[in-house]
């Protein structure tokens, strides 16, 4: 169902109309999701100003095109994104290989302005366009015994020069628990700033899970598998002590090699100060319930 999550206030509430089209500033309310009017604590009202299109498309981790942050912009143009098929298989009612146009025809694309927090401690604010993963999963029909969702990125070494390096066991894989996947914040993004998704950002379709570290938000998805077992995920398999399956943004739990307490917003220049990292990247009200009773230190 589209529009299940809303910023508490609209852009028009913060900035005069003449400004908001250019500044794209919004209020990120922690309310929404039916929490509005529940009478709970004061909603956190904070101005979120998206990074520039240029910043968001020139500083990327997409190892399929190289390890340098500038490599994806340099080399991702070689990737063919049309036609694009997504294989939906495993514990679903209607498994199959679906053309992306067929999927998009059935989905409602909306804009979502989310915080983005990389495990490497840089952060951004991104105006995504996309639809809820839940809508896609319901469209394919999830069997009752399904507990997890696995994802795979395209594997095409001829177009993805980084895949000739054996440092990673391609294709890149990620996964979510089914309740995380069905959460209204979990987005299948098809665009950025109202434009089709740039190749370096994971064209034509990628996952966005805003309360988790960026590596969970897998790019250029060609396969979605429903299963009853936790899927193997690339970084977790590579460095289990450093990257957990959950990878929820958590300022209290350090990466073994660096603290996660603070982050630096990209685009701030040489003298940008760090800001405090928020629990679940600022989406605590929305998602903390998913992990009730869980030891987040053990399940990092």
């Amino acid at each position: 169902m589209a529009y299940r999550w809303k910023n508490e206030l609209t852009r028009a509430d913060v900035t005069p109309e003449a400004h908001w089209m250019s500044r794209r500033a919004v209020m990120a309310g922690a309310a929404g999701l039916g929490l509005i009017g529940a009478g709970g604590g004061a909603a956190r009202a904070e101005t979120l100003e998206p990074n520039s299109f240029e910043d968001l498309t020139s500083y990327n981790n997409f190892y399929e095109f190289g390890f340098d942050k500038g490599d994806p912009k340099r080399y991702a143009g070689a990737m063919t994104t049309s036609p694009w098929k997504i294989e939906i298989d495993g514990l679903v009612e209607r498994p199959g290989s679906y053309d992306l146009t067929e999927i998009l025809a059935a989905m409602t694309v909306e804009e979502r302005i989310y915080r983005f927090r990389c495990v490497e401690t840089w952060a951004a604010v991104v105006p995504w366009n996309g639809f809820e993963l839940a809508d896609l999963l319901n469209w394919a029909g999830v069997k009752p015994e399904a507990r997890y969702v696995g994802f795979e990125t395209l594997y095409r070494p001829k177009e993805m020069r980084g895949q000739s390096s054996r440092s990673i066991d391609w294709p890149y894989r990620e996964g979510l628990r089914l309740d995380e996947a069905m959460h209204p914040l979990t987005l299948m993004a098809t665009g950025l700033y109202g434009k089709p998704m740039p190749n370096q950002n994971g064209a034509p379709i990628r996952l966005v899970v805003p309360w988790k570290y960026g590596f969970k938000s897998i790019k250029s998805i060609v396969r979605i598998t429903l299963s009853d077992m936790q899927p193997e995920t690339t970084w977790n398999a590579l460095q289990p002590e450093e990257y957990g399956f959950y990878a929820n943004v958590n300022p209290e739990v350090s990466h073994p090699r660096w603290s996660q307490a603070r982050e630096r917003a990209i685009g701030g220049g040489l003298f940008a100060a760090k800001q405090k990292t928020l629990m679940f990247n600022g989406y605590e009200k929305e998602v903390a319930g998913l992990y009730e009773g869980m030891d987040l230190r053990a399940n990092y």
Partner: protein
Amino acid sequence: MNRVTQGINAAARRVPPWLIYAAGAAHIVWLIWLGQSGGLGPEPINALERALGETGMKLLVLGLAITPLMRGARVNLVRFRRAIGLTAFAYVFMHLAVWVFLDVYILADIWAEIVKRPYITVGMAGFVALVPLALTSNDWSLRRMGGGVAAAAQADLSGRGAGGGIS
């Protein structure tokens, strides 16, 4: 001595060592300017820190290679050794300064990182080891300490000192 070696040595005699200081200083200023003007991308602090650290490391290795080059291949770049070493130190110092003042900059965190993260502990120890070498590399210090002591200290770094204590 073959012709290539002779050529290198002859060319080296024509290059004044101060050019190395000037090039290093200009490059550092250029990197900072790039960072400030967007030339290092949307996250310039990390990029600047790495560029300074990596260049410092390369120069350090280059400086350490000069004595073996002289002995093994008779390539004489000895007159550049101090300039290369001190320029390497300048890069390492700037790398540390960017880390302290632009990257971490919270006093308690700086200490915590040095103690907690092994790679930062090693880097910090390396810097501390370089400080006396840089400070004693000027003519006055070398004269005052006498050839033996200063040479031994400097030799420790380049690996010439056998067992190498300052004794």
